[in-house]
Symmetry: C2
Subunit: 435 residues, 2 copies
């Protein structure tokens, strides 16, 4: 058997780890692939001091790797959506399979790239693009193939989960923990991608596309971050038996598919509620299997390299057998991908956590409960807290039964008109995760 | 493309569900497989009232299915290790791929059957054999292929976990819950397989064989059941911040591989500690990915059918492409399977929970602690409880640091000689699951 030759572009954290895993475990990995694997060409603008690449061909121009006729599999680990896209297009056009960890690229340009791969008779694999080392892509695409996927909900951004965990465990404020996460290197200098939910939305659309056989339409994901969550909300949620997690949720309903990333209260006994720190987890409800959950490291060089290398081994097996990989990029052939109606958020039905500040006098509570009941929303719990020193208004927490956002919006609009209730009202969705 | 024809043998709970999933979701499953799937032949001694098989060929002699030249994939769901083995041998010899949920058969005769499949150029798939609908086989075999597996620990028997959960939540006794589980149909009339750990040992050896590329040597698994666990142990464990779970553990160590099924105290904050009722979960620690966890339904018709159907779809893709499936049964080719040294239990090192009854008088505690220290075992916690009414002896709970079983055995032998300590001493291993 001819060895399978791997080209790695990008030698940063993930690229460096991928190179290390492939070099360190060559024998074991080759036994698993059934063919000798080796890294024949690296493309990187600069060396990585942790990688001894003396015996490997290194090009400063990454496109040299994409055009190298000796390379069977191109591993794209440079990130970004411009040069990376061009690089992958070049590799596909020269008949190479591609493995990538690039969620933004797959989320935004996946449909186009998958079609291009099809055209050239090769495939793109991207296990590492969602939830790092957790094998959620393959699980959804191949192992739950006997199921209609009813819904999935995931903690798919480690930085956001780290921040919420610290707020819960230590009562710290969002901005304070964010600054620490940046100092520790968990969060980027520009944290928007992580804390405003864009990174999670990228991952969610990839999961949804596989789960529902729909196109990768990233812009259709509703995205809400965690920056407005206060330590008080975290505390009140705990008092009520809930945790606040930043979830990506994709759900099949009669009206279509819900695609949403937002902070969410979930019951404290659920496994997802107990996934803390930088860890990720995805829960998937299948029609036959019921609920399943996948947990692990969602980021980090070695964990992500684990997913990259798994994709490389899968491809190497087919290359060695001179077979074309048979599994379509999204689990079903391009011609079977069907656009889905996306449910507008005003129609999405969930229970709600509502925190407001109201005047502490007779009649105000009755006023509040009447507003909810006017919109047909029933109240599961209502708690009035003691006022802070010198405050005339008291915090009131309302936990509702399931109601469409449109109805809650009407309640909030009515509250805005009342002098007895302060302007700032916090609304957070609740998911029971038990259907 | 020619449709792929499936023969199902056995139409009990799992067989019936498999037939239903394949019939109900034909269109979706065929889109995922990229080829039309249909059940062309059923072998069952009797009809299943939940399955409308009027349009399907049904044979009372299951061997008719195994010999049917029209069948591409034989699905063995009759269970047992005699007829099922013969059936699979017949199917392999007539060039059919096989899908099975039969853990006992794979655990006891897998090596022989895999070799036979190799000889005939076909494969045996068995995702459903371990942890029902949880895709742990494929995760281990293909998705963690870039890792050395350091250890895995799983709750892989739902009946046992249901019993322990009821004991914890309701303070009930083992025998009492077992009787209920039998009445509910969770436990077999002969519960030995479940509660004495044999079923878990079957699953553990399958996981270990894949994880470590070793032969399926079922008899080398140390197996200890949960029937001796008392409600008091469950309570004391909780007081100390632990839960008792029945775990299957496979661990790579310098001395070899540890293969063991036994009740285990684990810290209450671990995800595995919060897997309750009939659910299963497996935690796997990989060299690159770190800890990962897979959770879901470990039994039940539909959940198991989910795994069976996933295997069918994988095979159907290759059959349609007229390709030979490239993934070896255990993830590495037969010639790369290497026997491992199994670490004798006396050498296995874990912390211990020890419960004994001692006379409540000066000097006895000192005697007890001296016995541990004589064997070089340090004590993490020692709790003396109030005596029961009319008892002269008091319960004493000792939590030790890590110590080989051989050393603990010496302590227990010394205690047996003391009049101040009652004969019956309960020892349960502790696993921190954090390495």
């Amino acid at each position: 058997l001819k060895p399978v030759k791997i080209g790695i572009c990008g030698l940063g954290t993930v690229g460096g780890s991928t190179y290390q895993v492939l070099s360190r475990e060559t024998e074991l990995l080759s036994a698993r692939a059934g063919v000798q694997l080796y890294v024949s060409h690296i493309g990187a603008r600069r060396d990585n001091p942790h990688c001894a690449t003396a015996d490997t061909r290194v090009s400063r121009d990454i496109f040299d790797v994409a055009r190298d006729p000796q390379v069977d599999i191109l591993v794209e680990l440079i990130g970004g959506t411009t040069v990376a896209k061009e690089l992958i297009e070049t590799a596909l056009a020269s008949g190479k399979h591609v493995v990538t960890a690039n969620k933004a690229l797959i989320a935004e340009f996946g449909s186009e790239l998958f079609a291009l791969a099809d055209k050239h008779g090769v495939v793109i694999r991207y296990e590492a693009a969602v939830a790092g080392g957790i094998p959620i892509i393959k699980a959804l695409r191949e192992r739950l193939a006997g199921n209609q996927i009813l819904w999935l909900a995931g903690i798919i951004n480690g930085t956001g989960n780290f921040i919420l965990t610290e707020m819960k465990d230590k009562g710290r404020a969002f901005a304070d923990v964010l600054a620490e996460a940046q100092a520790l290197g968990y969060a980027e200098a520009d944290p928007t991608f992580d804390v405003e939910g864009i990174d999670a939305a990228h991952k969610l659309i990839i999961l949804a596309a596989i789960a529902f056989g729909m196109p990768l339409e990233f812009t259709r994901v509703y995205t809400e971050g965690i920056s407005r969550i206060t330590p008080r909300d975290v505390d009140y949620a705990q008092e009520l038996g809930y945790r606040i997690k930043h979830l990506g949720i994709a759900k099949q309903s009669e009206a279509g598919v819900e695609l949403r990333v937002h902070p969410t209260l979930i019951p404290e006994r659920r496994l997802l509620a107990n996934v803390d720190g930088v860890k990720n987890a995805v829960m998937v409800e299948g029609s036959a299997v019921g609920p399943t959950l996948y947990y692990g490291a969602g980021a980090g060089g070695d964990a992500t390299a684990s997913a990259v290398v798994a994709d490389v081994i899968d491809l190497a097996r087919d290359i060695a057998a001179e077979q074309r990989p048979q599994i379509a990029s999204l689990g079903v052939a391009q011609q079977n991908i069907v656009a889905q109606t996306i449910v507008p958020m005003v129609q999405v039905v969930t229970p709600w956590y509502v925190r407001l500040e109201a005047e502490d006098r007779a009649g105000v509570m009755a006023q509040i409960t009447a507003l909810f009941s006017d919109e047909g929303i029933s109240i599961e719990a209502l708690i009035q807290k003691a006022p802070s020193a010198g405050e005339s208004k008291v915090p009131v927490i309302v936990l509702t039964n399931a109601a469409a956002q449109g109805r809650l919006d009407a309640v909030i609009a009515a509250m805005d008109k009342l002098e007895s209730i302060a302007d700032e009202i916090m609304c957070i969705r609740v998911e029971m995760l038990d259907v």
